[in-house]
Symmetry: C2
Subunit: 242 residues, 2 copies
């Protein structure tokens, strides 16, 4: 089995083969359902019915079953005994762990930029926060959160570690897409904007200690608000429990 | 599509359904090939041939193609134009990014334990390092590295954040399993053991600052050695390049 051929590391083009560009039926169905989850057409808590999905996607139940297995193994959906498959919803433990991980990675990225550059690209950072200000005024809660994600990913990207950015992006996706935003207080948007402004001022002053303290405080405030919200949801959803 | 049913968060047992326990043919073949990669029966750089895999696993080429697509999308294998599929091998950028991420997460976990507990479970930690000492004397390079992983994951686990432990575990898997260890100097084992001992002494003294400095130094030494090794491999493998 272990043929001696080695990967030519440089020189050869690494590319997606034709069969992956088009994708098999199973992969297409997997992508279609995942896309509905990530775009929130299928919201957290929604029940997934094989037959219904098969009808909508105009395929047999086999590729749907394959796709649900894969989404289950990746944590996008859960299975409840005698109830079936549901789009996964965030719980308090997962949310706390994700916010801690987010703080560790964002602080790492912030320090890395301070260690390696003399000045931050302030115009770029202010533009990202400008987009966030627009989002507070005009967008729904979830879209506002996605714009906040862009601000934070934009900062982290300056540290030059793609894997940290990818990991952060998947944290934001989970925190944003796996939660219900109904009833979430809209005041968090303006608060977060002010905290961004304070962070931007500290970056412009090249003040590493203040920047780090503000960033940590900002992430912990966000977690505090989400934590409260998850408790409100738990208190008001007694009908959902067996 | 969006049925109003909500996931019953508590009270109902969340479990793998029967179909996932057994798994479809595609999932079984996917797991079989992935297991060969993770157990290093299929080593980094090995060419993967559909027909050969289908014969070995006694299935048609269709589930093999499905499995390779999925492993490709997850980064376990690469595709090179007109050459085919190969078990992915680590490159310098990926390795550097993973070591930086590892440092960020291990330092986060260390600080968290110092913040939340008065004493470290020293007996447990010394036992983990005792296993590492045995591994230096008796095991091959890759198994020695897997024992080192157990030491570091054991420390990180004390911070009580499962997601950080999972992310670290996947970093170690990538760093260890995606590299060729042929020609890697065995002296790193005893060095790493001494660095573990220094860390353990600082933990026993409940000295947070020293512990963090030693841990950072330890991870950076490991990266330095790997970095050298990757350059030696690159210098000595001119035949692999087109």
């Amino acid at each position: 089995m272990t043929s001696a051929t080695k990967v030519p590391v440089e020189g050869a083009a690494i590319s997606a083969p034709e069969e992956l560009k088009s994708g098999s039926l199973n992969t297409k169905i997997y992508n279609a359902i995942k896309q509905r989850i990530l775009s929130n057409r299928l919201r957290p808590g929604t029940k997934l019915v094989h037959e219904q999905l098969a009808n909508e996607l105009r395929v047999s139940r086999t590729p749907v079953r394959e796709a649900l297995e894969r989404l289950y193994s990746e944590g996008y959906i859960v299975h409840i005994l005698r109830r079936g498959f549901f789009v996964a919803e965030i719980d308090e433990t997962e949310a706390r762990e994700l916010y801690e991980l987010r703080e560790a990675l964002e602080v790492f990225a912030l320090r890395k930029v301070f260690e390696t550059t003399e000045t931050w690209p302030m115009e770029h950072i202010r533009a990202l926060n400008g987009q966030y200000r627009v989002a507070i005024d005009s967008l729904g809660t979830r879209d506002r959160m996605l714009t906040d994600r862009d601000f934070h990913l934009g900062l982290a990207r300056l540290a030059g570690n793609g894997r940290v950015v990818d990991t952060l992006a998947s944290i934001f996706d989970r925190v944003i897409l796996k939660r219900r935003v109904e009833g979430y207080l809209p005041t968090r948007g303006p608060e977060a904007y002010k905290e961004h402004i304070a962070l931007i001022e500290a970056l412009a002053d090249h003040d590493a200690a203040s920047s780090e303290a503000i960033l940590r405080g900002h992430i912990r405030s966000a977690w505090g608000r989400l934590h409260e919200h998850l408790q409100v949801l738990a208190d008001h959803d007694p009908d959902d429990l067996d």
